[in-house]
Subunit: 277 residues, 2 copies
C-alpha cells in the first residue's frame, strides 16, 4: 500500500492511498480519514460508496464529513467506483464501464475479469483496512450516494449482522426497475434477471433480507428521482416487509454534493449513535 | 447578470453568477451563498478572496462555510481571482497572469486594461451585490486565503471603517518581501516599490492604516510559510503599531482546503460576532 497524500484536517488525518487489488487486477485508490485518538485505540468505521462518475476524491473534497467524524470518533473510508486505466474495459457512456462498477462481481465479458467491485468492497478492502488502520471491524457502518447508495444497501442486506448502521443519500433503490440498473446489471450480469436480485435492495428485502435500521435522505428536486432512483419503491418494500426505515424527502434539494454535504453530519451522527451504542 | 446555477444547500441557496465587468472588460463569474431569511430581511455579508490558481469554485465546493453561514445568518461571496479568457493577457507561470490578479489595479502593459481586480472587488462587485442580493452593506466582513488573504488585508486596510471584521487564512502578509509578491507587483505595477505599499499589509500598517481587529490562522506545515507567507512579519508589524491581532499558528496544517475548511466555521463565527454586534 502506497500513501499518495496525507493532510491534517479538522483534528485528524485525511489520507489517500493506492494498492494493487487482486479483485480488480488494477491499482485502486481510496481515502481514509482518521480522527486523532488515544494510542492503541481502535475506532468504528463508516464506509462511503460513491456514485456514477465519482472517484474517492469527490466525497473526500466536498462531503463535509470530517468535523462530524472527529466529534464522534469515527473513521471514514471512501473507495473508488470501479477499476480504471488504459488496460481496463470501458464504455463511452457515463453510466457503464469505468466509474460505474455498480458494486457487482461481473460475470459477462469483457467485464468479468476486472469489474469485481463486490469482492473488492466486501472482502479485499476491508481486510486491508483492518490490517493497516486503527479500525474496530466489529463496529462498521455503511452509506453511499446514488449508485453508491445502492451499493451500501445491497452490501449490507447480503451480510446480516456485519453492519450495525446503514444509511444512504439518494440511492438507486431498485436496479431491476430503472434504466441505469437495467443497463448496468444486464451488461455486467447478463440477461437472467434472477441473477440481478442479489444486487437490488428492494428485491433483497422482498426475499427476506433485513437491515438493523435504515436512514435515507432524498431531495425532492433531484432530477433522477422519478426515473432512476424511485425512492417510493424502497418505502413500499420496507413497509411490506416490516423493515424499519426513516426515509426523508428533503424539499428543494438536488442530487449534488450540495445536498450530500448538507445532511452528512446527521448521517455520521446517526451511524455513530449505533456504532458506539 | 446571468445565473449559472443555484443549488439548495444547508438551508440556503448556493448560487453561481456571471456578469460583464466594466473593470476587467471580461465576463466575471462569482458565487453567493444566501441563507434562508425572512422576506425583506438584509443579511450581513462576508467576502472571501481566493488564492493563486483558484476561481470562485474552490471555496464554494471545498470551503465548508455554508453550515456556519446559516447558523449565523451571513451571506458569503466568492469572486474570481482575475479576468480570464482567450483575449486576456496571460503568463505561463501559475503565480502571474490569469488566476493571479493579486487584487491590484495594474499600471503596466499588457495588464493595465484588464487586470483591475482592486476596482472590481472594491467597487464594481459590491455595487452589483448591493443591487441584486439581500445584503446589508453596512455590515461587511472580509477574509481570504493566501493571495486572497493579502487581498482581504489590503482591501480592508485601505478603506477604514468599511469592514467591521477582517480575517485571513495563510495570507501573503508582505508582497514587498517575498518572491510571489515581488514578481506580481513588479509585473503589474512596475519597478517603483513605493507604488507597491498600497498593496502590502505590513507596509500599510507601518504607514498608519488600521483594522478594527484581525484573526489569522496559519498552518505550521504550510510549505509556503517560510519564503512566501512570512506570518511573523505581520505579527511584528501589528505589535509595532499596536494593531490588535489574533494570529494562530495551527500545528501540522498545510496550505490546502483541508486546512481552510477546518477553521472556516470559526472564522465565520468570528465575523458574525462583529457583524451582528
Amino acid at each position: 500500500m502506497e500513501t499518495l497524500s496525507t493532510n491534517r484536517s479538522h483534528g485528524g488525518t485525511q489520507g489517500v492511498y493506492r494498492h494493487q487489488s487482486s479483485a480488480t487486477r488494477t491499482a485502486m485508490t481510496f481515502s481514509v480519514f482518521v480522527p486523532d485518538h488515544a494510542p492503541g485505540a481502535r475506532l468504528p468505521v463508516v464506509w462511503y460508496l460513491s456514485g456514477l462518475t465519482c472517484t474517492h476524491a469527490n466525497v473526500t473534497e466536498k462531503g463535509e464529513f470530517r468535523a462530524a467524524c472527529v466529534e464522534h470518533g469515527v473513521i471514514f473510508v471512501a473507495p473508488d467506483t470501479s477499476p480504471r486505466g488504459a488496460g481496463v474495459p470501458d464504455d463511452a457512456a457515463y453510466d457503464f464501464g469505468q466509474g460505474a462498477g455498480f458494486y457487482v462481481d461481473a460475470t459477462q465479458e469483457p467485464w468479468a475479469a476486472q469489474f469485481r467491485m463486490r469482492t473488492y468492497v466486501e472482502e479485499e478492502l476491508p481486510a486491508l483496512l483492518a490490517a493497516r488502520f486503527p479500525v474496530d471491524m466489529d463496529r462498521q457502518g455503511i452509506t453511499g450516494h446514488s449508485m453508491g447508495g445502492h451499493g451500501a444497501l445491497t452490501v449490507a442486506l447480503r451480510q446480516p449482522g456485519r453492519f450495525r448502521s446503514v444509511s444512504a443519500f439518494a440511492p438507486i433503490v431498485s436496479p431491476l426497475a430503472c434504466p441505469w440498473g437495467e443497463k448496468a446489471l444486464g451488461g455486467y450480469l447478463g440477461a437472467d434477471r434472477e441473477a440481478w436480485r442479489a444486487y437490488d435492495a428492494c428485491a433483497l428485502i422482498a426475499d427476506g433480507a433485513r437491515l438493523p435500521d435504515l436512514l435515507v435522505d432524498q431531495g425532492t428536486a433531484d432530477g433522477f428521482l422519478e426515473e432512476q432512483l424511485r425512492t417510493q419503491l424502497l418505502a413500499a418494500a420496507c413497509e411490506a416487509a416490516g423493515q424499519p426505515a426513516t426515509i426523508r424527502m428533503q424539499e428543494g434539494y438536488d442530487h449534488s454534493y450540495y445536498f450530500i454535504s448538507t445532511f452528512m453530519p446527521e448521517h455520521v451522527a446517526w451511524h455513530a449513535a449505533r456504532l458506539r451504542a
